[in-house]
Amino acid sequence: MSDTLTAPLPGHKMPHEDYLNATYGIRSWLLTTDHKRIALLYLGSVTFFFFIGGLFATMIRIHLLTPSGALVTPETYNKLFTMHGVAMVFFFLIPSIPAVLGNFLIPLMIGAKDLAFPKINLLSWYIYVVGGCFVLYSFGTGGLDTGWTFYTPLSSVYSNSAVTPAVIGIFINGFSSILTGLNFIVTIHTMRAPGMTWFRLPLFVWAHYATSLVMVLGTPVIAITLLLAGLERMFHLGFFNPALGGDPILFQHLFWFYSHPAVYIMILPAMGVISEIIPTFARKPIFGYSFIAGSSIAIAVIGFLVWAHHMFVTGESTYAALTFSLLSYLVAIPSAVKVFNWTSTLYKGSISWDTPMLYAFGFIGLFLIGGLTGLFLACLGLDIHIHDTYFVVAHFHYIMVGGAVMGYVGGIHFWWPKITGRLYPEALSRAAAVTLFVGFNLTFFPQFILGYLGMPRRYHTYPPEFQVLNVLSTAGASILALGYLLPMLYLTWSMRYGKVAGQNPWPATGLEWKTDSPPPTENFHVTPEVTWEAYDFQNRPDLGLLAGASPLAPAHGDD
């Protein structure tokens, strides 16, 4: 990465040798065991699947511009929302933060040279790619029309779409998740640098530890479930087919036993990102560190106990429904603890409005709405009315997009200087963040109203009185798309023309900021020894923040 095209700030030069230029050639990337390069391999592939899922979303929103459906046949519409869900959930949301940011940062944050099992790390990327190929093959040979939830017997018996390759692909992809989680757990247990005790770990690491617990315990269940459904389809067996003595509700229980914890796989890492951004841009230690750490574990544990809140209308007993409803309310408590603690961190902080902070604020607001509406859905009486409507769709998009994706994009921005050694243009990035926020709300808030008024989800038509809200939603989607496109453009631009960042542009307190940007392949020239607490802005003279030090330049680059 040459620094000859940009005049470097005095004192900031690109390191002579880093992980990006240490070796050259495609084999050095495709056969790498460097966690940082593997993270970038994942960045490429999850972005690819984001585009695929986004393409289907675009087609859905265009189709829903008119009440009778403008674009596709009803059968094709079923395929659009199914493939949108499969691509986004399994190939974008679940891997995104752990496989990109987690892979890159965890060894750096704990002072290790790599993850515990670097070759398994590479293997997990290849497994992801193979699984992705099977799913793309399914998309290209007739698509998938069962819903991303694959309910039986539609998926295992009656559907005429390419179900079998899709379930094989998702089955394979599950092992990518399992191996990543396994790698993280072992790494965090055994490879912390001297002095890096559990309670000095960054909360990003705690969040990923909790996420990895869920990945490791939950994913095998969906693996066996999809395997059984696939076998049923291929060999006409009868596990879930009532005509052969099987039980479709068994499928639903097995499916949701993973798929509910899966949503915590998607949100916990994003919460970890927010827990890093807020203290940095409030220049204050985070409020209630051990409660935030503990709440991550609590969410992971309680998250395994709520799955049947997806099945309130299947005829489960009132007592079961009450239990799952109560537990679903319970799981909101640790999430609320986090929101309160982030907010309390801001009190008497020195707040700056850098782009990552904008995404963090966006996250808090949108996650609040998404999480609270989850409680509406967990209320039994209310769920009868709003289950399977656009209210559910809006709820989970607020969490998944307003929460997880904002956390992902904010994290990419926050650690971009570390990953690439460059800063992005700040004015443009702030504009993009605001665009994303506006576009997001315009897309999904009308859907709450639509759902409450009774518009069902997964329907290719709707009553004409709902058109205005649908049009607003589609308009919002176009703005949202712009909000995603802009970072892709200026981040790519910045890799060559961005201002050189230096070791710690913000400055932030994590160990990853005490090495070069970009880091050398072995992460640290000398194994660090940790003698300070997490987020301790007071006792870190190396950050240059003490009274009497030169007034802080804004953290961002060129404006």
Partner: protein
Amino acid sequence: MHRTGELYGHFETLEQQKESAALGMWIFLVTEVLFFGGLFLTYTINRHAFSTAFGIGSNTLDITLGAGNTVVLIMSSLTMAMAVWSAQVGKKRLVSIFLIATLALGTVFLGVKAVEYKQKFDHHLVPGRSFDMKYHPAHPMPGDDLKELALEKEEVDKAFAQDPDINAHGQLYFSLYFGMTGLHALHMIIGAGLLLWLIKGSFAGRFTPQYNTPVEIVGLYWHFVDIVWIFLFPLLYLIDRHR
């Protein structure tokens, strides 16, 4: 990351490397518990719902072969543990011998399994178009020893009367039988591959008291596969046995 001796470059010490490998294998085994667990749950629910058909199905399995296989597998776990011990005390020749013994016993298990699968095929008990639980033991094939049959014809006819859909439910039983024992056999084949790799390493003298982690963690895996069979055998073979 390059290797100096047995130490990979990203680890600080051999001790850290060994600790990581062991923890990694334990976590992997936990995922395997959850994986097989889904199958066991499906089995449990269906057994409760269709106990008649499951009883008949279970009685068609050859209990001698099943029990024999159980003993074979337990012994293979013993030889595996002995291999680990031999490595820990530095008896390199014994490591190879015990690893080969484990592989041999595992192969015997798989061979017996193949024989059992063929029996099922011959007796029309493979789920699919030719499935028929009435075919055996009610209508034995030439060469079957009538005294060996677990059930009398009257018991089978009574079961068929009790459960009019007994063939559909019986197919569920055998789907689970092949699914569970098949998945188990797949894990054993993978284990056999790992053993071959270990045997190769043991011939090269790689495993010493200072470094025997691969033997230890493959041992953990092998013991796990054994434990799965310990659960499978009673659940599949021993329903409603009263002889």
